[in-house]
């Protein structure tokens, strides 16, 4: 009994179960000042640049143990518990996930105990209960103020100019804004004056997007436009993920590692998968931006929730219905073919497609074929090559390729396609947005499939006619039964073209 009472008094107090205390007990934090090293200002600035505005696990901080312990002792890093526990729920500090199905436990060999870990953000490295997230607590890094940083020498169209001014205003006021511009309107260029303004005020800028293809496409363009500014791209497959540049172009997943870092947050293709489905990504982008920061959203096809916000006037927006070359969006042609699914299951191309091949306007245009599934893209490759060879559109079988999400050579194939080494590319919805090919005809096989929703179909038709020299391209949707998405997509494109016409007349009246 006495022992039990003693035990009761010696139970761990709340302070001892605090993460800092736990870390100290595991010898992560030194308890005595055996080694004292004062940082020079230069050193601290360097560290601040590397670690400011981030939320990192110990293994993501490339410092040696004594060095890191020293910084901890100086309270230059603040440890945060990796899980926030309340009575009714447990929440991952990094990705804000509280779904019970995405939280699990494992027997940790290091601590000989069973721990909680988060399954939602496990692709970024496992966050478990015994680990602590570190936040920089030292001096703030002063980002340089750069005047006239934009080295892009192009001219904006009147429509772009109007949007660019609104973006500039939003950045100056640190407010929210949506730029709704049709595919091929030149959304990236609209941003340049705004970014220039932000840089002249010493702001840190992030351009986030859900797709890594878009990051890879944006990175050289932004780098070209701002030659004297540090620009860095962050995406899953990239090896070096320091994130120390002033302009960061990242996939939204990578933003899970940031915390109140950016003065300007630009989210490109905000309606793309998986951003609109995964709530933790929206959380990450919100946390990565500072409390007072400008947020610019770019899209060609806003989804219901954004449209509703526009209607309720909760979100200032700017609509650009015309493309930069002034030509309307190519209107898709619906082709019904009721032997479609039968032909596709037999790994054959539909007859309507072959018929259309003969009556195309310009046979020099490359072919971009969208199919609903990855398997279909692989299966149809041989057949497509055979048909195109027969029609003498290609000389060699290697001019037909497929590209999908799990394809390791995807980047290479897309590059080859852009250089016209590949004539025909079979792909899934992975290439629906963010990529520009100068002169293509677009075909969607089985356009009534569930994966092609309205936004996807509008984006897909936006791939055609992007160049000034060849402003129209044919867009063919082959289906065996119209879906609502198909009808809505065609309607949306027609509506945008109509708005473009009225936009022109308004401009000329001025």
């Amino acid at each position: 009994m006495v022992q039990r009472i003693k035990k009761w008094f010696h139970r761990p107090t709340r302070l001892e179960s605090h993460p800092t205390e736990r870390a100290r007990r595991r010898n992560l934090l030194p308890s005595s000042s055996s080694y004292f090293h004062r940082l020079t200002e230069e050193e601290e600035r360097k560290l601040a640049k590397r670690f400011e505005g981030k939320l990192l696990l110990r293994r993501e901080i490339p410092l040696s143990d004594p060095q890191f312990n020293d910084l901890l002792r100086h309270q230059l890093f603040t440890p945060h518990p990796s899980f926030i526990k309340t009575i009714f729920q447990t929440r991952c500090k990094r990705c804000n996930n509280d779904k019970p199905s995405l939280l699990a436990s494992f027997p940790c060999a290091k601590c000989c105990r069973t721990h909680l870990y988060c399954r939602n953000c496990i692709m970024m490295g496992r966050v478990s209960e015994c680990e602590v997230l570190y936040e920089w607590n030292g001096i703030r890094y002063q980002w340089p103020t750069l005047l006239n940083a934009c080295t892009w020498k192009g001219v904006l169209t009147p429509a772009q100019e109007k949007a660019a001014n609104l973006v500039k205003k939003a950045i100056a006021d640190k407010s929210e804004m949506l730029v709704w511009a049709v595919a091929g309107a030149g959304k990236t260029e609209i941003l340049f004056p705004g970014i220039e303004l932000a840089l002249s005020r010493g702001a840190r800028i992030c351009i986030a997007t859900p797709r890594s293809d878009v990051v890879r496409e944006l990175y050289p363009r932004i780098g070209q436009a701002f030659k004297n500014v540090e620009v860095e791209a962050l995406y899953g497959k990239k090896k070096n993920k320091d994130g120390t540049a002033q302009i960061i172009i990242a996939t939204t997943h990578q933003l899970l590692r940031f915390n109140e870092a950016f003065d300007v947050m630009i989210i490109d293709e905000i309606d793309a998968f998986p951003y609109h489905k995964d709530r933790s990504l929206a959380f990450a982008t919100n946390r990565a931006a500072k409390k007072a920061s400008a947020k610019i959203y770019l899209t060609a096809t806003p989804r219901g929730d954004l449209k509703q916000k526009i209607r309720r006037k909760q979100l200032p927006h700017c609509f650009i219905p015309i493309r930069y070359h002034g030509h309307p969006l190519p209107e898709p042609k619906l082709v019904a073919d009721f032997s479609l699914s039968k032909r596709l299951t037999n790994k054959q191309l539909p007859k309507s497609f072959i018929r259309w091949l003969d009556q195309r306007e310009r046979k020099t245009r490359q072919l971009l074929i969208f199919v609903p599934t990855i398997q279909l893209a692989e299966q149809l490759k041989v057949e497509t090559a055979a048909v195109l060879l027969l029609k003498k559109l290609i000389k060699d079988e290697s001019e037909v390729a497929f590209a999908h999400a799990e394809d390791e050579l995807r980047e290479e194939k897309v590059r080859q396609f852009r250089q016209r080494n590949i004539y025909c590319l079979l792909t899934t919805t992975i290439l629906e947005r963010g990529v520009t090919f100068p002169s293509v005809d677009v075909v969607v096989l089985q356009a009534n499939h569930d994966v092609f929703d309205e936004a996807a179909l509008v984006q897909i038709s936006g791939r055609a006619g992007r160049a000034k020299d060849d402003p129209d391209g044919e867009v063919i949707f082959i289906h065996d039964g119209k879906t609502e998405a198909l009808v809505d997509a065609v309607h949306a494109i027609k509506k945008m073209n109509l708005r473009a016409k009225t936009f022109y007349t308004k401009e000329s009246e001025r």
Binding site: S105, F106, P107, C108, A109, K110, Y117, R119, I122, E406
Partner: protein
């Protein structure tokens, strides 16, 4: 709500009189994900469970020539065929450290042990292949131990006999490099019981044979193996 461990979609259980009375089985994967797991079917090589039409596959013949008829490994049993889906799943399970994914394989592991090693298990001990210290720190758990724990309810049957010296991943080596590499294990204890080695993947069988050779040399009567996947 029951959700699929792989795709996090809701699993809707069939409801009929049987499930009404028995409560139904707790499903870990949804139908779509489950159908992508390929279990090994007959005909297989009697020795290493590779799917082949002959009783002894070319792999095993090669090993027998290599050891001149005295192969230290008696037999290997596997449950799954290696395909892209399983590769992804195992990568997430062991490299990313998503521990609960392992429970997906539990039923198959139990079934295989009951079917092939039921009689043997009365006497034998189960020895999981160890990880090196640094890898263990990185991942937090050993996937072979996890398999061993799922295989038997009797924890005392699981014995750790080895220590791993080298640090490199097998998956990054070529076949020749693997076979002629130095033995990566060190024996900690000897045993005079029959041993069932447990590992996650059998690709060339080198790891298992390295361990088996050490055991045989120290007086173990016979070495069997269970691997989750036959590559």
């Amino acid at each position: 709500m029951n959700r699929c461990l792989w795709c996090d979609e809701a699993i809707v259980n069939q409801f009929d009189w049987l499930t009404f009375f028995t409560g139904g089985e707790h499903q870990l994967l949804c139908e779509a994900c489950l159908s992508q797991l390929e279990t090994i079917r007959q005909p297989v090589c009697k020795k290493c469970f590779k799917m082949s039409n002959s009783k002894r596959c070319t792999d095993c013949k090669r090993w027998e020539r290599f050891f001149s008829g005295d192969d230290p490994l008696e037999k290997n049993v596997s449950s799954f065929r290696y395909n892209e889906f399983l590769q992804e799943m195992i990568a997430k399970w062991k490299y990313r450290g998503d521990y609960v994914l392992g429970s997906v394989f539990e039923r198959e592991i139990k079934r295989a042990f009951k079917f092939h090693y039921h009689a043997l298990l009365k006497e034998a001990v189960i020895v999981p292949i160890p990880l090196s210290k640094s890898r263990m720190d990185e991942r937090g758990f050993n996937q072979s131990e996890a398999i061993a724990e799922m295989a038997t309810d009797d924890r005392k049957k699981i014995v750790q006999l080895f220590e791993r010296i080298d640090d490199e991943k097998q998956a990054k080596k070529t076949r020749a490099e693997r076979i002629f590499a130095k033995n990566p294990f060190k024996l900690l204890k000897t045993t005079n019981k029959t041993v069932i080695l447990v590992d996650d993947i059998y690709t060339t069988g080198t790891t298992l044979r390295h361990a088996a050779r050490l055991l045989k040399a120290s007086g173990c009567p016979a070495v069997y193996a269970y691997t989750l996947v036959r590559g």
